[in-house]
Amino acid sequence: MTSPLEQKKIRVAGPVVVTANRVGDGAVVYHRADGGWTTALGDAAIATDAEGARALLAGALADDLRAVGPYIAPVKLSAAGQPRPGNLREMIRLRGPTIDLPVPLGGTAMASRAYTHGVPAVAAASLFGQ
């Protein structure tokens, strides 16, 4: 989870995507093959070597209007070939904090902005255990 801001060389050891934050609202987005951006990791373009990753990143960097701070992030592929976050940082970016967000007194979580991430607060085990 070393900050990708420190990435200098492009080293691709497995499948990767290019991810960034959307300019208007800061939401986590992934670069699509058609040059657009999506919040759904499943729709992201996947690169499997340094050349492909470099090309994907170059296109993303050029899209300063829509995306901020693009970088290359690892993914794992499911049996069906669907990309999943490749490390804890990317899982947190996709699914949100691993902790429960504060709840208003005597109430339930905020309705219209209800935020569910399906990742429970963790006690003793590492969230990213195998």
Binding site: T2, S3, D64, L88, R93, P102, L105, A121, F128
Partner: protein, 552 residues
């Protein structure tokens, strides 16, 4: 607290309009991110893992009820219903949308609040003791000088593009409750042999990759010279601070590389050109600011009113809370009440909008409409009459901010960590939560006594782990979260950097390690009232190291 005048309000309003224009130019593409980033940082707008983050300044940690209600409003309208109080007395919102920011800032500006210079390579929030103005051991209110300096450095044309950020703290009490020596520049009030009050100037503190404690470069600076001397320090730093390497750009590196004497000489040379000039603070200049500070019209009360004694008899829980969360006040019959934002299982420093509103109401009723934010990430009601303490306590319990754990092991100082922050290597909040669960027994906490646990999710040390009694630093090893443990740090007037205990331990063992350390202390202490930090100093860290690593 300082009351804005027309000049202050105008400046903030103009700043909001400027930012509105800058956001529009960013969204239209007229400004690239590279050009926009320093501009948004100057208004406290970060980009974090999930969204933009807005850091709103709470100058020297002082808030009015109206301002706290506005912070609650911003949390509700523009964020997810809560905010996070930071180790620099500011508040952060973690789910902000850029497009909505100008409106959020306009709302904040309506009560004299803003995010100016809470980020960027400029002078940041100037912090003080959260008991400023009410602590019995204080000679003068440090916030007057904090405000003088704050205004001077706000949108300062010369110091808005420095090599790196610059953090200032001001102290006037005998005890250092503001962690002065971990700041780039710290001013501590003293009296000289002639009985005059002046400031000791310390420079070059800072944590992070290369932690340093600030060193004294001028033992006694007359009050009238504060602005000109601060100007000279900043000018020296702006010109000679390193700009080739972001990790060597803080003033602490410059002071270290030149040596404090040579650095002091440079500053003095700059200062000679400008001292006794327009920045000299005559009485009128100080009064122009000091006169705008609102102080309560305290009633003439006596200490120990009968209602208090009665309430203590009636409730052991109240008595225990009193002993933990309430401190003496300089006005007879009054008290300083700390509100714990560290409930068991909670996120240290977080408060919901509902809590903020409720606290604001309580402040109007019981604290002359004033609230404080401490760097330990708790809140304070600074002017509570002792006769009202029982009623206040019951109200605080209903809000969930009366856990009697202030300064105890579960009063953890923690950065947001990898759950929120794009700089982080590891999570910090779940670590804090688990520790509070292990120590949920308050009798045990009281037996352990004062014990400061500080957690940082990365080397940038926003959790101030270097100066924690127990410091916990998250690192990454092979894609897993590991934590380095340090022992023996101190943030007060005896400021000390902690010592590394041993190899980093994995995520799942950190709470175990803290329990082992606590158990070792209970065995090693000479008397029940020997503080944890004093046991560490006396016995050294070796016995703790043995205990922790015996089975690891």
């Amino acid at each position: 607290m300082y009351v804005y005048d027309a000049f202050d309000r105008t400046l903030v309003a103009e700043r909001v309009e400027e930012f509105r224009d800058q956001v529009a130019r960013r969204l239209s593409g007229e400004l690239t991110e590279d050009e926009f980033k320093p501009l948004r940082l100057m208004n406290g707008v970060y980009l974090q893992l999930h969204a933009y983050m807005l850091r709103t300044a709470i100058p020297y940690g002082t808030l009015s009820s109206a301002q706290l209600r506005m912070l609650a409003h911003v949390a509700r309208k523009y964020d997810r219903g809560y905010g996070h109080f930071t180790t620099r007395q500011n508040i952060q919102y973690h789910w902000i949308k850029l497009a909505e920011l100008p409106d959020a800032m306009a709302d904040l500006a309506s009560v004299g609040m803003h995010g100016m210079q809470t980020s960027g390579n400029c002078v940041r929030n100037i912090t003080t003791d959260q008991w400023a103005g009410v602590a019995p051991d204080e000679t003068e209110d440090p916030r007057v000088f904090a405000e003088l300096i704050r205004q001077h450095v706000t949108l300062h044309p010369e110091f808005s593009f420095m090599p790196r950020k610059f953090k200032i703290a001001v102290g006037t009490a005998a005890r250092d409750r503001a962690a002065l020596r971990i700041h780039d520049l710290a001013l501590q009030l003293h009296r000289n042999a002639e009985g005059e009050a002046g400031f000791e100037v310390m420079v070059g503190g800072g944590l992070g990759r290369t932690p340093f404690l600030a060193q004294t470069i001028k033992p006694f600076l007359a009050k009238r010279d504060v602005l000109s001397y601060v100007e000279a320090v900043l000018r020296t730093y702006n010109q000679f601070g390193r700009r080739d390497n972001i990790y060597k750009a803080r003033i602490k590196i410059l002071v270290h590389e030149l040596g404090p004497e040579a650095f002091a000489k440079e500053v003095d040379a700059e200062w000679q050109s400008i001292k006794d000039g327009t920045l000299t603070l005559d009485d009128a200049a100080v009064a122009a600011i000091a006169d705008r500070f609102f102080y309560p019209a305290y009633e003439r009360l006596a200490d120990g009113p009968p209602q208090l004694a009665e309430a203590r008899r009636a409730s052991r829980d109240f008595d225990l809370w009193l002993g933990n969360s309430v401190a003496n006040h300089k006005a007879p019959g009054y008290a300083i009440v700390t509100l714990s934002l560290k409930p068991e299982g909670g996120t240290p420093g977080d408060a919901t909008a509902e809590q903020m509103d409720a606290i604001a109401d309580l402040a109007v009723r019981y604290s002359f409409g004033e609230i404080r934010v401490g760097h330990e990430q708790n809140l304070v009601l600074p002017h509570v009459a002792q006769r009202d303490l029982s009623a206040v306590w019951q109200a605080l319990q209903a809000i969930g901010v009366a856990t009697p754990n202030v300064n105890l092991v579960s009063d953890i100082i923690s950065c947001p960590g990898l759950d929120y922050c794009s700089l982080a290597n590891a999570r910090s909040i779940p670590i804090a939560q688990e520790i509070t669960r292990r120590f949920h027994n308050l009798d045990l906490q009281r037996d352990l006594g004062r014990l400061h646990v500080n957690i940082s999710g990365c080397i940038n040390a926003c959790g101030h782990h270097h100066v924690g009694h127990i410091g916990i630093l998250g690192v990454e090893k092979n894609g897993e979260e590991f934590y380095q443990i340090t022992l023996g740090g101190k943030a007060d007037e005896g400021a000390t950097l902690g010592t590394l205990l041993g190899p980093a331990v994995p995520y799942g063992q950190v709470a175990d390690v803290v329990e082992d350390i606590a158990a070792a202390y209970l065995e090693l202490r000479e008397r029940p009232d020997e503080l944890f930090i004093d046991t560490v100093k006396r016995a050294g860290i070796e016995p703790f190291r043995e205990r922790v690593y015996a089975t690891r």
